[in-house]
Assembly symmetry: C2
Homo-oligomer: 505 residues x 2
């Protein structure tokens, strides 16, 4: 469009933002359709939804690889010069454009359709605990992902290319020693715990918790955290997740267990932690390349920080106890000293999302080992169930009794997320390191014990949320904590709380 009389010429950055805004809108529209599919869509809508998502994915891909966008990027890069913010906008846009350009349009569309259908057959397979019902979908999904990884990796490692999608810069070689350190540290902790011959009682957080009371209780907690419900909503779903269509529409889901308070409460605190990150992205960055979270590792750090560092702390329960008693009058006799140990179990189990802090990262390591072998070790899809069970036995000492409690438990592969799991562990490490730094600057213990979560939330907003993708995860960690990322703070804290809960300190 030629500017008319009285209009000023568009800057190169404005030209880039105009095109980029459409790419963002398409991504948001796909996210709405996926949220709907998970929470609202009737069963028979599956087939047409798969086609709709595939079409949007195809258009998204076409927009990303449009020569007009490449030209706009070149112009914006030239205009940016030494301005770090303008240059970062170009850098982040280019990262996505380069990635999309390496994947042929037909493959992008095939992936979207396979993922939408994979989700349906995985749901069926998990419900029936029958791997064979998911097998064909998984073969197709893995084949397509290998093709994608091949395009992305060029001469490099395909698995590294997949890891990089979810947390830019992450590599297998970098993760391996981190996991080795965790395996050793957590393994030793589990040995000590086993040696204690006893375990904290779970009775204080078990009993009869009506659905509506669980929701009301958890709602009060996430309100206090600062989750803005006028810019979001909470729905029941089989799988808790958080999704955002802008910083003003960030939705979370929950599930509950009638006889155990923990899945609903910590699930919702976890998702609300993700949501605070999305709601905390800067208004001015919306629909621009910098207007998104930096990576899934950093994202997970926000959810784990609220779930584990806040929600499982003694101080939190000092504040939350009267709220808990109000919603669950049967538990009037239960105190903080009863609840706290029940939140720090160290008991190897089958299910990742039910795992305690002391075993969670071993579940992630299991998946890291399986995915490495699948993408760089020549393992075939048909070998996955046995490989899963054997690795579970090696790392956790338990063998899943059926596929629903083993290889079929996670939604990730069905929805096309490969190389995603390690971000969970990165999130745990980042959370502990951020917490340590925040504790050095804020009066965290007293604030949490008083239910004052605003100082912590604003600290996170200032150090992490508002920056969007301006800085990498490692840059953000160094800026916020003064140190490079390490497993130290995480291992030290988990060891200390677990030993205290088991009385083996």
């Amino acid at each position: 469009m030629t500017p008319g009389i009285g209009e000023r010429a568009q800057t190169a950055q404005e030209g880039l933002f105009e095109l980029w805004g459409e790419v963002v809108d398409l991504g948001s529209a796909m996210a709405v359709l996926q949220w709907d599919q998970e929470t609202q869509m009737p069963t028979k809508g599956q087939e047409s939804r798969g086609k709709q998502l595939a079409t949007l994915a195809g258009i998204h891909h076409a927009k990303m690889t449009d020569p007009a966008l490449a030209d706009a990027l070149d112009a914006a890069a030239e205009e940016a010069g030494d301005d770090p913010d303008a240059a970062a906008q170009v850098r982040e846009a280019r990262r996505s454009v380069d990635r999309a350009s390496k994947v042929p349009a037909a493959l992008a569309k095939a992936l979207a359709e396979a993922e939408s259908n994979g989700l349906a057959s995985w749901q069926e397979a998990r419900a029936a605990s029958d791997f064979s019902l998911f097998r064909d979908s998984l073969v197709e999904l893995v084949a397509l992902q290998k093709e994608r990884a091949g395009h992305l990796a060029g001469d490099g490692s395909p698995y590294d290319a997949l890891l990089d999608i979810h947390e830019p810069g992450t590599t297998e070689a970098q993760l391996a020693p981190v996991f080795a350190q965790l395996k050793e540290g957590l393994g030793a902790l589990l040995d000590r715990v086993r040696g204690s011959g006893s375990a904290p009682s779970e009775a204080p957080v078990q009993g009869d918790f009506p659905e509506q009371s669980q929701l009301a209780f958890s709602r009060e907690i996430v309100d206090a955290m600062g989750y803005d419900i006028d810019a979001g909503r909470i729905d029941l779903a089989t799988h808790p997740f958080c999704t955002g269509f802008s910083n003003r529409d960030v939705r979370i889901t929950w599930r509950f267990q009638k006889d155990d308070l923990r899945p609903a409460l910590f699930g919702l605190m976890h998702e609300a932690g993700h949501a605070l990150y999305e709601q905390g992205l800067a208004d001015a960055d919306q629909r621009t390349p910098l207007g998104t979270a930096v990576g899934l590792g950093m994202h997970e750090s926000q959810s784990r920080l609220w779930e584990n560092l806040v929600g499982r702390s003694r101080e939190f329960w000092e504040w939350a106890l009267p709220v808990f008693h109000r919603h669950f009058p049967d538990k009037a006799g239960v105190g903080v000293d009863d609840i706290w140990p029940a939140l720090h179990l160290a008991r190897p189990g089958f299910i990742r999302v039910e795992a305690d802090e002391a075993t969670y990262d071993l579940h992630v390591l299991l998946r890291f080992e399986v995915e490495r072998k699948l993408f760089s070790g020549g393992v075939e899809v048909d070998e996955l169930p046995d490989l899963w069970d054997a690795t579970s036995e090696e790392l956790l000492g338990v063998r899943p009794p059926d596929p629903a409690k083993g290889v079929l438990q996670d939604i990730h592969w069905a929805m096309g997320a490969y190389g995603y799991f390690p971000t969970y562990t990165l999130g745990n490490l980042v959370a502990s390191q951020l917490w340590e730094a925040a504790a050095g600057e804020l009066d965290l213990s007293a604030q949490v014990a008083a239910g004052e979560f605003a100082p912590l939330r604003e600290w996170l907003r200032d150090k992490v949320h508002r920056h969007g993708s301006r800085f990498s995860t490692s840059e953000l960690v160094e800026r916020a904590t003064g140190k490079p990322l390490s497993p130290g703070p995480f291992l030290a804290r988990v060891t200390s709380v677990t030993e205290a809960a088991y009385g083996v300190a």
Copy 2:
């Protein structure tokens, strides 16, 4: 794509369907976003949703006007030859393509954004009953619609161009005598009713009806109609509507009034009537040009048929009475002879959606008169409130006390639907004429009195639903009833039931 060895070449129709499928998917994605906006979206999500919809509308428009689609159409037209079905596919696609090609892309996008924002300011204005809060949005919406109508009409009438969007072939000149006949017939009926000096009691359908009981009662009714809930869902919304994203995902909304059964029950039967049409479209036509309902007039005939011809009939209540008693035990003493007259009032009021059958079409005529003047009579937006009130007084004999009960009552103008209202009256006429024909072929009275709705539903599916857009509304009416469309059956039936209810026969 060049066909490989062993693949057969794509036919021209397959080439057309491939491109058309993407257009359909985009339309469905927009419908999902709009449904979400009306039923799920948090308030702060409005601004970003407007941008998302505008982007999708822009892409939809670009796909419609893509030269590749025009080429595919030409090829498919040549291939179709004398095959009526293949030719109809081309005809319907071309109708949409021609319409889109006449509207510049920037205007299509501006319309989508103005409509999404118009909706928000209309909601605010209606809640405050303050026209000034909607005024600026409406000025913009009307200006954009005039621009659009100008592009569509060429040398023809702009208002005709808008009418044609919603029910192809409809013109102002064709509607004027129909409305004149209705005005005369209904006016005379209202005079006779007024002369009776009495009115049926509404007490049988008024009282205390809990929300959940109303939903459960209405759910049982729409289940019996054959609405497939596994291919749809029901949500509460401020405005009852039906929307479909394929024939396997057709959603309806409802609202209720605690002290009156009618809005929820007849609202849901109405929307379920629409939904049966959408669910009855042929599987084989999905994502093709013929795979949509023919027009909004025919669509409305399906909703009004179930709402008024079935739901307000004595036979229906013979079957429904025990269901009604089961859900509302307080009403155990109420019989069919009590309920039936309360469903056939003839009482001029302010609100279209609350209007009885004897006055409904006068509300539509009011809007037809106002829209004609707005688009071809030089009336300005600022004159609308007074024009509305004066026309209401002339046609219905009542003057709205405030804008919420007058010019602000309908969502249509806010969402960019101009020339839409007359389809409501077309629907009423078609419904009565179809009903008369069905009654000649089926044992309708006995079937409805036994709650056997399948014969009627299958008759409608056979005569209307399964054909999609193969035939025009007038062709379908003539094929199904053997006669051209006329107001006769509607006027005769409304007159007879109203006179019976008022005892002035």
